[in-house]
C-alpha cells in the first residue's frame, strides 16, 4: 500500500480531492487554509515529478497495482509535467488572491476549485481516452459551478451558456471515444496510436471529427469562442484567472495529444484548418478586445486571441522545428501572464468600483504594483521582449518562415500589434494628468491581491530568460 502512495503522481490527484471534500465540510475559514496548504504541497509534488521525469522522460503508475485494462494507468512525460507545473504554479497565487478577494462565495470557491484541480491534474496524467473524458467532464462541471459563485444574473446566464458548450463538447468527445472503442476495443492512447495507421476507416475519421470539434468548442477556438467572453469576463477575478489560464489549456492539451498520437497518421493534411481558425481568432479576438468597454471583457477577448496562437503550430508539426515546444511555451507564458492580468484587472475594478476601462482611470496611477503587474503581463501578451510570450512568438515566426508559411508570421506580428493597442489603452490611463475626479476615494485592496498578480506577471517575464529547462523537459516528447 505504501509504495502506491509514494509517487507524486497519485498525490497530485488525491490532494485536491481531499482538501476539496474537507473544505466543503469545514466551511470557508479552515477550508481555505487547508486548501492553501494543499496547493503548496501540490506544487511540491509537481516539482518532484518534474525532477523524476526529466532524466527518464516517462513515468507511469498503475493505480492500486491493478493491470490494464482493469486498472487505471497514470502516465507523466515532459508534456504533462509542464502543464502540471503551470497548473500548480498558477493556482497557488490565484487561491491566495481569492482568499483575500472573495467576500461571499468563499463557501463554494474552495470545494469547486479543489475538484477543478483534481480534474485538471487527472487529465494531464491520464493515459486513456475514457479517463480523459471523465476528467474533462469533471473540469467542465466544476468550472461552470465556479462561474456562478458570484451569484449575479449575468453570471448565471453566462454559466448556462458555458454549461451547454461544455456538455456538447464532452458529448462529442465521448461519441468519438465510443466509436474508437468499437473499432479497436481499447481506449489506451498508446495502443490506439499503434493500431491506427495512415489508412483510417470512415468510423475513425468520424471519431476524429467529432472529438476535434468537441475539443475546439471546449478550447473556445474561433468561431467556437462565443461562450468564453461572458463566462471569463463575468466571473469573479480569481475564477476568471483559473478559467483563462488553466481550464482552456486542458482541452487544448487533449487535442495536442490526439493530434500527435492516435490521429497523427491521417490528420496532418488538414493541419491548415485549425491554424486558419487560430489566425481568425487572433484577429477577431484582438479587434474585440480593442473595442471592449469593460476591463475584464477586454482581458477575456485577449484570451480568445491568445488561444489562436496555440493552434498556429499545427501546420508546423513534422517540419523539423520545435513546434510542440513552441506551443507549450506559449501555453505556459499565456497561463502566467493571463492569470496575472486577470488578477490585476480584478484589483483595479475593485479599487475603483467601476468595471469600465475609462472608469479605472482615476485609480490606475495610485496602485503602482497592480499597474506594473498589468503592464508586465501585457508585455508578454504583446510578445515584446524579454518575456515568455516573446520567445514563443519569435520561435513561431522562425518556424513558420522556415517552411515558407509567411502568412503565419504575418498573423503573429499583426496579433502582437493588436495586443499592444488594447494593453496600452489601459496602461496609458496611469499617466493621465490630475483631473477633478482624481479625488474619488480608493476602495481598500489588500497587499496580497497586489503582489500575487505581480508575482505571476514577473514569472511570465522571467520565463523569457529561463526557458531552457522547459525545453530540456520537453526534449524527449514525441512530436
Amino acid at each position: 500500500m505504501i509504495e502506491h502512495l509514494s509517487t507524486p503522481l497519485v498525490w497530485l490527484i488525491l490532494l485536491p480531492l481531499v482538501w476539496a471534500t474537507l473544505a466543503f465540510c469545514l466551511g470557508p475559514g479552515r477550508g481555505a487554509l487547508l486548501g492553501l496548504s494543499g496547493l503548496g504541497l501540490q506544487l511540491l509534488c509537481a516539482i518532484l515529478l518534474a525532477v523524476e521525469v526529466a532524466p527518464k522522460q516517462t513515468v507511469t503508475h498503475l493505480v492500486g497495482g491493478w493491470q490494464e485494462p482493469l486498472g487505471i494507468l497514470l502516465v507523466a512525460d515532459g508534456l504533462s509535467v509542464t502543464m502540471l507545473l503551470l497548473t500548480q504554479a498558477v493556482s497557488l497565487p490565484v487561491a491566495l488572491y481569492a482568499y483575500s478577494y472573495l467576500k461571499q462565495g468563499q463557501h463554494w470557491f474552495w470545494p469547486l476549485t479543489g475538484f477543478l484541480l483534481a480534474g485538471i491534474n487527472g487529465l494531464y496524467l491520464s493515459g486513456d481516452l475514457f479517463n480523459l473524458y471523465v476528467t474533462l467532464e469533471l473540469i467542465g462541471l466544476a468550472a461552470v459551478g465556479l462561474v456562478v459563485t458570484g451569484g449575479a444574473a449575468g453570471q448565471v446566464t453566462a454559466a448556462m451558456r458555458y454549461l451547454l458548450a461544455s456538455l456538447v463538447g464532452s458529448g462529442g468527445f465521448l461519441l468519438g471515444v465510443a466509436l474508437l472503442y468499437g473499432c479497436f476495443g481499447t481506449v489506451s492512447i498508446r495502443l490506439l496510436t499503434s493500431l491506427i495507421g495512415s489508412q483510417a476507416p470512415l468510423a475513425v475519421w468520424l471519431a476524429a471529427a467529432v472529438m476535434v470539434a468537441g475539443l475546439l468548442l471546449k478550447t473556445a477556438l474561433f468561431p467556437f469562442h462565443f461562450w468564453l467572453p461572458p463566462a471569463h469576463g463575468g466571473a469573479p477575478a480569481p475564477i476568471s484567472a483559473l478559467l483563462s489560464a488553466l481550464v482552456v489549456k486542458a482541452s487544448f492539451y487533449v487535442l495536442l495529444r490526439l493530434w500527435l498520437g492516435p490521429f497523427a497518421g491521417f490528420v496532418s493534411p488538414l493541419a491548415w484548418l485549425p491554424a486558419l481558425l487560430g489566425s481568425l481568432a487572433i484577429l477577431w479576438g484582438g479587434c474585440q478586445a480593442i473595442r471592449a468597454e469593460r476591463l475584464k471583457m477586454m482581458v477575456a477577448y485577449s484570451t480568445v486571441a491568445q488561444l489562436g496562437y496555440l493552434v498556429l503550430i499545427f501546420p508546423l508539426f513534422g517540419t523539423g522545428s520545435h513546434a510542440m515546444q513552441i506551443g507549450l511555451l506559449q501555453a505556459t507564458a499565456h497561463g502566467l501572464a493571463k492569470a496575472g492580468m486577470f488578477l490585476a484587472a480584478g484589483t483595479l475594478v475593485k479599487a475603483s468600483g467601476s468595471e469600465l476601462i475609462d472608469g479605472i482611470a482615476t485609480m490606475a496611477g495610485r496602485l503602482p504594483v497592480t499597474l506594473f503587474a498589468f503592464g508586465l503581463s501585457g508585455v508578454s501578451l504583446m510578445g515584446l521582449p524579454p518575456s515568455g510570450g516573446f520567445l514563443a512568438k519569435y520561435m513561431l515566426i522562425d518556424a513558420a518562415l522556415a517552411v515558407g508559411h509567411i502568412w503565419i508570421a504575418v498573423i503573429v506580428v499583426t496579433g502582437g500589434l493588436l495586443a499592444s493597442i488594447y494593453v496600452f489603452r489601459v496602461l496609458r490611463l496611469a499617466f493621465l494628468g490630475p483631473g477633478d475626479e482624481r479625488q474619488v476615494a480608493l476602495q481598500p485592496v489588500s497587499a496580497v491581491m497586489e503582489w500575487t498578480a505581480f508575482m505571476l506577471a514577473v514569472s511570465a517575464i522571467v520565463l523569457g530568460l529561463a526557458a531552457m529547462p522547459l525545453f530540456r523537459l520537453l526534449e524527449g516528447v514525441a512530436g
Binding site: P385, P386, L391, Y394, M395, A402, S420, R428, G464
Partner: protein
C-alpha cells in the same frame, strides 16, 4: 564566470539595479534616490573606464547565454560598442544631475527616475548587443522604457505624443523582427562580425537580401527618424526637458542610428553592401532627411520643436556617413554619433533652462535672454555654432570628414547637401543667437520662476550640465587628436571595419 564575461553584465546592471531600487523607494526618499542614481551613474563610468583600457589593449569582452535552442543572448563590448556606451554613460550622469534640479518638487519622481534608469539600461544593451536578436530585445525594451517618460506630464499633448511614438516604434519593431528572423533563416546566425557575415555566404538570393535590408533599415529608421518615418519625433518633444535631452542625444534616435551602423558594417559588411548597391539609396534617404529636417526647422516658432526638427536633420549625418563608401565617410558618420549627442544635449539642456527659469518656450520670447542668463546662452551659442559646423567646434570635425568622404566616394552631391544643410542651420540658429545677445531685454519674462541670485542665473544643477557639454563640444575639436577623443576612436573602428590599418 570570468572577469571578461562579467564586466559587460556589470555595465548593464549598474543602471538596471538602481532602476529597480528607485521604483521601490517611496516618493519622499529624495536623498536615498539621488544617492542610488548617482552611485549607479558613477559606477557605470568607472566600469566603462575599465573596459576602455582593456579594449584599447586588445582584450575581448563578451557574454553568451542561451534563451532557447538557437536563440542566443550575446553581449560584446567592442570598440564600436564602447563609442556608444561611453557617450551614453557620460551624458546619463549629466542628465541625471540636470533632472534632479529640473524636477525638484515635481510629482512622480520615483517613477520618472526608475524609467530613466531602464532607458539607459536599454541603451547599454543596444550598444553592447552581439547579435541582432539581442539588439532587438533591448531595442524594444527602449520603446517600453521611454513611453512613460514621454507621457510623464500626463497632459493631453503628452498623451498624444506618447501614442504617436508607440504607433511608430512598435510598427518599426515589428518590421525589424520580421527582417531579423528572415535573415536568420537565410544565414543561420546574425552575429555582429567585423566586416559583416554575408560576404562569406553563397547561394542566398540577392533580392531577398535587399528586401531584408529594407525591413531592417525601416525598423531602425523609425527610431533614427529617417524621413518619412520621422513623424513621432516632433510630437515626442512634449516630454520634460531632461527626457528630450536624452532622447535626442543618446537614447532613442541614437539607438536607431547605431542600428544602421551595426547592420551595414557588421551584418552586411560595408564592402558587400556596396556591391549589392544598397549604400546609394541609404545615402539618398539620409540626404533627403537632412534637408527636410532643416527646412521644417526654419518655420518652427516653438524652441523645442525647432530643435526636434534639427535633430531629424543632424542624426541623418550619421546615416549619410554610413552611406558614403570609403574610410573618411565612415569616420565622419561614427564621430558624429558622439558629436551630435554632445551638441544636441547642450541645446536641450539650455532650452530647458529658459523654460524653467524664465518660462520661455517660443523663439520670439528669447529677446535679450543672453543678458539675463549669460552662461546658459553661451552654452546654447556654442551648441548652435557646433550644429552649423563652425570652426573650433565638434560639428566642424564631423562635417569636414563627411565632406572628404563624399569627395573620395565621388558623390559631389553629398557635399552640396552638407553645405546646404549648414546654410539652413545658420538660417534657423542665427536668428536665435541674434535675439539672445543683441535684442533688448523685454519688460517682463513670460513666467519667471527662479530669480537671479548674485552671479547664479538659475539653479546650479541646471547650469552645470550644459556648461560641461559646451566645453566638451569645443574640446572634441581642439583636442581631436588626443588618444581618448571620439575622433581617435572612430578612426580605430574604421580600421577594423575596412581591414586596413588606421
Amino acid at each position: 564566470m570570468s572577469y571578461n564575461e562579467l564586466l559587460p553584465l556589470l555595465v548593464i546592471a549598474s543602471s538596471l539595479l538602481p532602476g529597480f531600487i528607485i521604483f521601490i523607494l517611496p516618493e519622499r526618499q529624495i536623498v536615498l534616490r539621488t544617492m542610488f542614481n548617482l552611485l549607479g551613474a558613477v559606477t557605470k563610468l568607472w566600469l566603462i573606464g575599465l573596459l576602455l583600457v582593456g579594449v584599447t589593449a586588445g582584450e575581448q569582452y563578451g557574454f553568451r547565454y542561451f534563451l532557447a535552442p538557437n536563440m542566443e543572448l550575446v553581449f560584446k563590448a567592442d570598440a564600436l560598442a564602447l563609442l556608444f556606451v561611453s557617450l551614453s554613460a557620460s551624458l546619463w550622469l549629466l542628465t541625471t544631475l540636470y533632472a534632479i534640479g529640473y524636477l525638484e518638487h515635481a510629482p512622480h519622481r520615483s517613477r520618472f527616475f526608475g524609467f530613466f534608469s531602464l532607458c539607459v539600461t536599454a541603451t547599454m544593451g543596444i550598444a553592447m548587443a552581439g547579435n541582432l536578436l539581442t539588439f532587438f530585445i533591448f531595442y524594444e525594451l527602449l520603446t517600453l522604457a521611454t513611453f512613460p517618460l514621454i507621457v510623464h506630464r500626463g497632459t493631453p499633448q503628452a498623451m498624444r505624443g506618447g501614442t504617436v511614438y508607440l504607433a511608430y516604434t512598435l510598427f518599426g519593431g515589428a518590421l525589424l523582427l520580421i527582417g531579423i528572423v528572415w535573415l536568420n533563416q537565410m544565414t543561420g546566425q546574425t552575429e555582429f562580425t567585423q566586416g559583416g557575415i554575408l560576404a562569406a555566404t553563397d547561394g542566398i538570393s540577392r533580392t531577398h537580401l535587399k528586401l531584408v535590408f529594407l525591413l531592417l533599415i525601416a525598423g531602425v529608421g523609425v527610431k533614427a527618424a529617417i524621413v518619412p518615418l520621422h513623424g513621432w519625433l516632433p510630437q515626442a518633444m512634449v516630454a520634460p526637458a531632461p527626457v528630450s535631452a536624452l532622447l535626442h542625444a543618446v537614447a532613442v534616435v541614437k539607438a536607431g542610428a547605431f542600428g544602421v551602423v551595426r547592420i551595414v558594417y557588421e551584418i552586411y559588411g560595408i564592402e558587400f553592401a556596396q556591391s549589392l548597391g544598397l549604400l546609394l539609396p541609404l545615402a539618398v534617404a539620409a540626404a533627403v532627411t537632412i534637408l527636410w529636417g532643416s527646412l521644417r526647422a526654419l518655420s518652427q516658432g516653438d524652441l523645442k520643436r525647432r530643435l526636434a526638427f534639427s535633430t531629424i536633420s543632424q542624426v541623418s549625418y550619421i546615416v549619410l556617413g554610413v552611406g558614403i563608401f570609403g574610410t573618411a565617410g565612415t569616420v565622419g558618420g561614427l564621430v558624429h554619433l558622439v558629436h551630435q549627442g554632445i551638441m544636441k544635449i547642450t541645446l536641450f539642456f539650455c532650452a530647458g533652462n529658459y523654460a524653467e527659469t524664465l518660462g520661455i518656450h517660443r523663439v520670439d520670447e528669447m529677446d535679450g535672454a543672453g543678458r539675463r542668463m549669460p552662461v546658459t546662452s553661451l552654452a546654447f551659442s556654442i551648441g548652435a555654432l557646433g550644429m552649423m559646423g563652425a570652426p573650433l567646434t565638434a560639428g566642424a570635425v564631423s562635417k569636414s570628414w563627411l565632406k572628404t568622404g563624399a569627395l573620395a566616394a565621388q558623390m559631389p552631391w553629398a557635399i552640396w547637401v552638407l553645405s546646404a544643410s549648414s546654410l539652413l542651420n545658420m538660417a534657423y540658429f542665427l536668428p536665435i543667437l541674434y535675439r539672445l545677445w543683441l535684442k533688448p531685454l523685454p519688460a517682463a519674462w513670460p513666467h519667471e520662476e527662479i530669480p537671479v541670485n548674485g552671479v547664479r542665473e538659475t539653479h546650479w544643477l541646471l547650469l552645470l550640465p550644459p556648461l560641461v557639454t559646451a566645453v566638451a563640444t569645443v574640446a572634441a575639436s581642439t583636442f581631436s587628436d588626443a588618444w581618448i577623443s571620439p575622433l581617435t576612436f572612430a578612426r580605430m573602428i574604421m580600421g577594423i571595419e575596412y581591414h586596413t590599418p588606421p
